[in-house]
């Protein structure tokens, strides 16, 4: 998977979509709902369902990251599956609220 910054991916098993904010170090598999995600422009594989072990959901506007590989993605469409790399669940980045300045 070429997970370069700005690249967009969709879930194979639900409606979730993400955009890569920070690329991972090295080759990883980005998954949603327990199945590999596919590039936004590609066809989804058929007949797959959300794995109950990876079903805590993706939310629009939330950032998810993996400490070990450094990957960080932003949810751009919500879905039922949750994100993982190489089977390891991504963590939610708790953003520190900043006062509006523009």
């Amino acid at each position: 998977m070429n997970l370069k910054p700005g690249s967009r991916w969709k879930s194979s098993v639900c409606t979730a979509e993400v955009v890569v904010v920070k690329p991972p170090k090295g080759e990883v598999s980005l998954e949603c709902g327990g199945a590999s995600m596919v590039a936004l422009s590609e066809q989804k594989p058929e007949g797959l369902a959300v794995d109950p072990a990876h079903a805590s959901g993706v939310q629009t506007g939330k950032r998810y990251f993996d400490e070990e590989t450094g990957i960080e993605v932003l949810g751009s469409k919500p879905g039922a599956g949750s994100l993982a790399v190489n089977g390891r669940p991504l963590q939610l980045r708790e953003a520190k609220a900043l006062p509006a300045s523009d």
Binding site: G6, V19, V21, S41, T60, G61, S76, A100, S101, D102
Partner: protein, 503 residues
């Protein structure tokens, strides 16, 4: 990541929410995305490298910013306050381009080679045209999002380059997606060619805060619109705030809906912000420091900092009101000396910044270093707690006998004198000290004497910071964007100093 995705996410999640304008007649997220698609569809029928915008603030600005992004073309808002020849010269540099121009400005820019003009009225029609809205949009790689011509006080304006990745990284690292309440509204009054206006378009749609545009700033209309539209948030530059406060006092208006006021883009005189804090106790004040080259804000003095500073008896806490707060957690700030060495707390040098929102690039020239650090050309220092204090542009710092003296600090003190309407402090060549401190004062009647002003500064600062050369003028020279022409003044004073004295 594309800036247009920021709008698409909002339109997908909250299509019916109002993005721009009044709650009753505003443009919804879905409506704004449709218009941006219409704009992009029309741009794609043209031969262009750049989308130019010459005009006042308004909903068309958002449609043009996102439309350019969807079409994969850089968006370049130009300063309509420039003289006609300067504006045309700048416009010629953007060719081949399409320029969206306010109807009453179009005659000023007609006939520039390689530039297709589109009046604002015709642009609005193209945005609403269903054929353009539904035209197929090719996938484009995110590259340059915005070109901003910096209003330098000397030489040709430089085109600062902001790429999609810089702007989106700024937005997603500082703003919570749809974090604003439905009742929140931001009043945008900075002109479209200012970085704060571009970032307001982007952070506005991402935060879900409705944007209300003030096409052209006067303090009276700002207060009128803020009151009528129940505005909760606004960003102003320091000179605007002083004038707004005068109107509020005169009308005995306190804007009960206003919750947050951020300011930046120049040095805030201490008396003005202290006055504002007293006059509007319900408002949270935010001082934001940023540059065009850094995609807007890089450090913030928040509401709690303001409250602590104004109520504190500790001079080290109280002086923070004159700082620009702490760097954003998503980036790094360092102070460096003339040899590039990192300096410690309390030591003044050049402000360096590194982070994903930092572009530090001009067309045909990179100013950012290979390791990602960008020298801002601003002089400043960090205190023990990490608060950043600015001393003005690096070139403006006065070096007197090896001591670095900040003009801003002396100007602040002089502005506090009732007989001073405006003042500029600068260094002039001096045989003994290298440079000496000079002050050019625009006095109020009755004009104060040199002795009186010298004593005023000496009592508040120290003798080395007391100007040794004084000049009085009816007014100071500014360029069309309101920046003081320091170099012009400096040159005039230097020439005057080198002439043999007649007495």
């Amino acid at each position: 990541m594309h800036t247009s995705l920021l709008l698409e996410m909002g339109a997908e999640a909250f299509p019916e929410r109002v993005a721009i304008g009044t709650l009753e007649n505003g443009v919804t997220y879905a409506g704004l995305l449709e218009r941006a698609r219409g704009a992009a569809g029309w741009f794609n029928t043209q031969h262009l490298d750049t989308v130019v915008f010459i005009g006042l603030n308004g909903p068309a600005l958002s449609a043009a910013v996102f439309g350019s992004a969807l079409a994969g073309k850089p968006f370049a808002p130009l300063n309509y306050r420039l003289s006609d020849p300067d504006l045309r010269k700048l416009l010629a540099r953007t060719a081949p381009s399409v320029a969206i121009v306010d109807d009453d400005m179009i005659e000023r820019v007609r006939g520039v080679e390689g530039v297709t003009l589109l009046s604002r009225t015709d642009f609005a029609a193209a945005c609403r045209h269903v054929d353009y809205q539904t035209a197929e949009l090719a996938e484009v790689d995110p590259d340059i999002a915005v070109l901003l011509f910096t209003s330098g006080t000397t030489g040709e304006p430089k085109a600062a380059v902001l790429r999609h990745r810089h702007l989106t990284s700024y937005v997603i690292s500082t703003v919570e997606f749809m974090g604003a309440g439905e009742e929140e509204a931001a009043l945008v009054s900075v002109p479209p060619y200012h970085i704060a206006s571009i970032s307001a378009v982007l952070t506005g749609v991402y935060s879900g805060r409705r944007a209300v545009y003030l096409p052209s700033f006067t303090p009276e209309t700002w207060v009128d619109v803020a009151a009528f539209e129940k505005v909760t948030h606004a960003m102003v530059v320091p000179t605007m705030l002083g004038r707004i406060l005068e109107v509020l006092e005169k009308r005995n208006e306190r804007l009960p809906h206003l919750r947050a006021l951020s300011y930046g883009g120049g040095r805030m005189p201490q008396p003005t912000i202290e006055h504002a804090l007293k006059l509007l106790p319900q408002v949270e004040f935010v001082n934001a420091y940023g540059l065009t080259e850094t995609s807007s804000t890089i450090s913030v003095l928040g509401p709690e900092d303001h409250r602590m500073a104004i109520t504190s008896d500790d001079p080290a806490v109280r002086r923070r009101l004159g700082s620009v707060g702490k760097p954003l957690p998503s980036l790094e700030v360092e102070i460096r000396g003339p040899e590039g060495e990192k300096l410690g707390p309390g030591q003044a040098g050049e402000v360096y910044v590194r982070g994903e929102q930092v572009a530090g690039e001009y067309l045909h020239r990179k100013a950012i270093q290979d390791d990602g650090w960008f020298p801002t050309n601003d002089a400043g220092w960090l205190d023990e707690e990490g608060y950043l204090y600015l001393e003005g542009r690096l070139d403006d710092v006065i070096v007197r006998g090896g001591e670095n003296i900040s003009p801003g600090e002396i100007e602040d003190v002089l502005r506090g004198h009732p007989g001073v309407a405006d003042v500029a402090v600068l260094g002039v060549p001096d045989d003994r000290w290298g440079e000496r401190v000079a002050a050019v004062v625009a006095p109020r009647e009755p004009a104060p004497s040199v002795e009186e002003l010298s004593e005023w500064v000496r009592a508040r600062l120290r003798s080395t910071k007391t100007p040794e050369t004084w000049e009085f003028r009816p007014e100071l020279p500014y360029n069309e964007t309101g920046k003081l022409l320091r170099r012009v003044l400096k040159q005039e004073l230097a020439e005057a100093a080198s002439r043999p004295r007649s007495d």
